[in-house]
Structure formats: structure tokens, C-alpha cells
Symmetry: C2
Subunit: 95 residues, 2 copies
Amino acid sequence: MTKLSEKEINEKLESLEGWSYTDNTLQTSFEFENFKEAFTLMTRIAFEAEAQNHHPDWNNVYNQLEISLSTHDAGGVTEKDFKLAKAIEGIVNAE
Amino acid sequence: MTKLSEKEINEKLESLEGWSYTDNTLQTSFEFENFKEAFTLMTRIAFEAEAQNHHPDWNNVYNQLEISLSTHDAGGVTEKDFKLAKAIEGIVNAE
């Protein structure tokens, strides 16, 4: 997996909603109704991450979820991160 | 729920293993075998937190889990945080 250039990342970001490229990672945040809803979504995302063998850096406080994606081995953002971001978007929008 | 004094917190910390009082919160971290193990434990903790109606501030990256506990309404650490910390310790030690 090759690290994408800033130009490539910005182009690809146009196909996602609510994600930004910050601190060398793809970032987003969600606010759910309560903890149960937040953790329900986290569980769906966890299964998808495990299936892709690519995992998020995420922080949860009650109904808030912050997610950062990057590819450690490549030292930045790769296609793997966009694939997982797209899957997360699909999971959250399916609600 | 009343915010505990630093003296009370330090006394109570003696009954826990691997927790510290930092930045006005109770903190700990765990390292599991892999993501699946980490998220399995998070799920057990999530059910306990929901049952206690008291939720962690937590961050997960692959096999690492960092947890901070505090009681927002009290502006610091209360008995509620020690109750949840004790439950988390029980869940992790049951592995």
C-alpha cells in the first residue's frame, strides 16, 4: 500500500461526506442519540474493520464518536483508509 | 454524587490495580492480543457501563485500549467512577 499524495487525498475526499484530512489522517466524528446507539454503530464498524483487516483509531464518550484512519505501515493515508471510510459511511447512513 | 477529594481518591486507588489519578480522571490502559480481543472486552464493558448508566471516555487503536473515568456533573472523580473501574477490572481479569 502506497501513501497517497495530498492532491490524491483531496480528490478522493470529494466522494465522502463529513471527512477531513488532518494530521496525516482521515478524520470524522459522529453524534448519536445515546451511548447504546453509538456502541451499536461501533460494533458494526468493528466487524467491517476486522473483515478488512484495517482498524480505526477511535474515541468514544457517551454519544460521541471520533474516528481517525491512517495506514501505519505506509506512514499516511492509503486506499485502505478510503475503503474503510466508505464502509463506515455506508454503515452510519444505513441507520 | 459528590466529587471525591484527592486524599479519598488516593486511598481508594489502593483497591484497584493499574489505575492512576491524572487530569482529574481515573485512567488505565490495556493491551490485548489483537483487535478482536480488545473489542470483545469493550463490548462487555459497554454493557456494564450502560447498566450503571455511567460511561467511559475511551480510545482504541488495534489491540490497545485507554480508558478515562470521571463524573461530568460533579466535575471530577466520584464513587460512580470507582464502581465502574472495579467492574472493568473484574471483566478484564475474568479473561
